[in-house]
Amino acid sequence: MKSFTPFQLIVVLASALILLFIIAPLAGMFVATSPADLFETAKDIEVQQSIKLTLWVSLAATVVFSVAAIPFSYLLARKSFPLKSIVTGIIDLPIVIPHSAAGIAILGFVSRNSLLGKAGSAIGLDFVGHPAGIAVAMAFVSLPFLINAARDGFSAVPERLEKAALTLGASPSRVFFTIALPLAWRNILSGLILMFARGMSEFGAVIMVAYHPMISPILIYERFGAFGLKYARPVSVLFILISLAVFILLRMLARNKEQKPVHHA
């Protein structure tokens, strides 16, 4: 039998404790929730609507903001410009500031009196208390995950390949779409999944902008406030299960794409 040195034992023990720390509360919650409760909660229209809303608004925020965030990541990976380190720092700002504070900032930004709010009102769109406002709040806190992952992906694409494409007569935009984007796709996809996940789980920023319509994290908070732990638990379990299912599905899709070249080999 393999014997461990004292140091290896300490490392294994520390790892086990950390894993337990993550798993135990979640497992406890799952165990404490009876299948009957779970089934009842799943039938609850309010719960169903909130989960649907959370999923599609986070997805929409991810898709809409990625249109600008991906080219921005490309710029960050390829060009050096004055104050670039400051720009890089700004991108990480939403991760480090309290999300409730971020929510307050966004509320000011999209409220009826703000420039954006007024522009929205002109076309009949009120961000406050509207899925569009929720999407803005979700995007604000989750964009860094996409930008950082995509930037790393673009940085890993050898610049020579892009130079080669230019000498083959491709325009810079064609080089971006046919060389840089496909080669960085693995990282970008991973960034998109992270952004989507982070957006879905956001509570602090969203509650400032829109208590209603209610996304799942706010519904869980409300059930807990109004009815206590027993009633908040099944909603939490259900939301976690659905989130997990979505991630596993997305990861599987991403993996299939990654493995494609190997099949051809």
Binding site: R160, L161, K163, T167, L168, A170, P182, P261, A265
Partner: protein
């Protein structure tokens, strides 16, 4: 065809200075220089990947130094091929044709003769990750050729190919050139340059130091650097004195070398081939006018015998057979006589 005039370019830590040369239509032109001499940088400048700071690049009479890369009609094959890893061989080769609005028939008309010359028809559906270095090089060449470039630039195309395949690829490059393709090829390999080039330019430390046919360049090297490339070890800068009919060259004040030539120059370069130098244990009367006593400084085996470095005030390299070396008892520190004819010492004036 392609005329580079006074091109200068500075990058952090490196400069190209006043580069000028001309390449004729259909010519195979080689830029020969050591790593870090600025060869690749020059190629990238011609292709438009590096912006030049001064000078001009004219292609068929048209100034192209401000032209966009994709409009220069110059093909470039990178040293590491830069074949797109996410595309099949076929997709790689068709890449330059995709935006040219050609029909499928026209596309295949362009591709077919090229893949047949390069013998890669069987690789079309493969992914680059499954190809060998030689195969990747052929794919990169095919991809550059389908766009029918006016000039094809090759950056060390044989550097990553094992020696067995090198001669095949050399033959292929010669074939492509014979078919009318103008080629500028960058290398650090002397043999490669001699075997392929119509003309050679030697580049050293960001400057072109000599241009000409391989014969012109290597029989009349104008610098120790060029001579070194040609494998010539005895290459000295000399002062020349003329007395009556006698021309004497001084690589060192105490080493007068008698020459058999006519010149008006006061300085020049002296070249003596290793194999023209005779060694003997004692001085003897012969037709050789140059006889010096010296000390063996170094001796080491080479392909055809022994290379002996004798210090006669200057280090002189001689080549002898192993048998001769043994017979003379050559070893470091031994005193020995060196002989060579006046006609073996070749004077190059610039």
């Amino acid at each position: 065809m392609l005329k580079i005039d006074n091109l200068s370019l500075s990058l952090p830590g490196f400069h190209l200075k006043n580069i000028s040369f001309e390449v004729a239509d259909g010519e195979y032109f080689i830029l020969l220089g050591e790593s870090g001499a600025g060869k690749s940088l020059l190629l990238e400048a011609i292709a438009g990947l590096n912006k030049i700071h001064e000078g001009s690049i004219k292609l068929k009479g048209k100034e192209i130094s401000n032209e966009k890369i994709q409009q220069r009609e110059i093909g470039l094959v990178f040293q590491d091929h830069a074949v797109f890893p996410h595309l099949t061989v076929n997709e790689n080769i068709s890449y330059p044709l995709k935006h040219r609005h050609l029909t499928a028939e026209e596309r295949s008309k362009r591709i077919k003769p090229i893949i047949s010359t390069l013998q890669i028809s069987h690789l079309l559906n493969r992914r680059p990750a499954t190809l060998s270095g030689g195969e990747l090089q052929r794919v990169a060449l095919a991809r550059a050729l389908v766009q029918k470039p006016k000039v094809l630039l090759l950056d060390e195309p044989l550097a990553s190919i094992d020696s067995m395949l090198k001669s095949d690829l050399r033959a292929l490059l010669r074939q492509i050139n014979r078919d009318g393709q103008t080629i500028i090829h960058v290398t650090h390999d002397f043999d490669e340059a001699v075997s392929l080039a119509d003309r050679i330019a030697i580049i050293d430390n960001g400057k072109i130091v000599q241009t000409g046919t391989p014969h012109e360049v290597f029989s009349n090297p104008v610098s120790g650097f060029v001579a070194h490339f040609a494998g010539i070890r005895n290459f000295f800068r000399v002062r020349i004195e003329r007395k009556h009919d006698l021309v004497t060259a001084y690589p060192h004040e105490n080493v007068p070398i008698t020459l058999n030539c006519v010149t008006n120059s006061d300085t020049g370069y002296l070249l003596i081939r290793n194999e023209d130098i005779l060694l003997s244990a004692e001085n003897f009367e012969s037709s050789a006018l140059n006889n010096f006593e010296g000390i063996v400084e170094d001796i080491y085996p080479v392909r055809n015998g022994e290379e002996v470095v004798v210090n006669i005030g200057i280090p002189l390299h001689a080549q002898v057979s192993r048998e001769s070396a043994e017979k003379l008892g050559l070893q470091r520190g031994k005193t020995i006589w060196v002989h060579f004819k006046a006609s073996a010492a070749k004077l190059i004036t610039v």
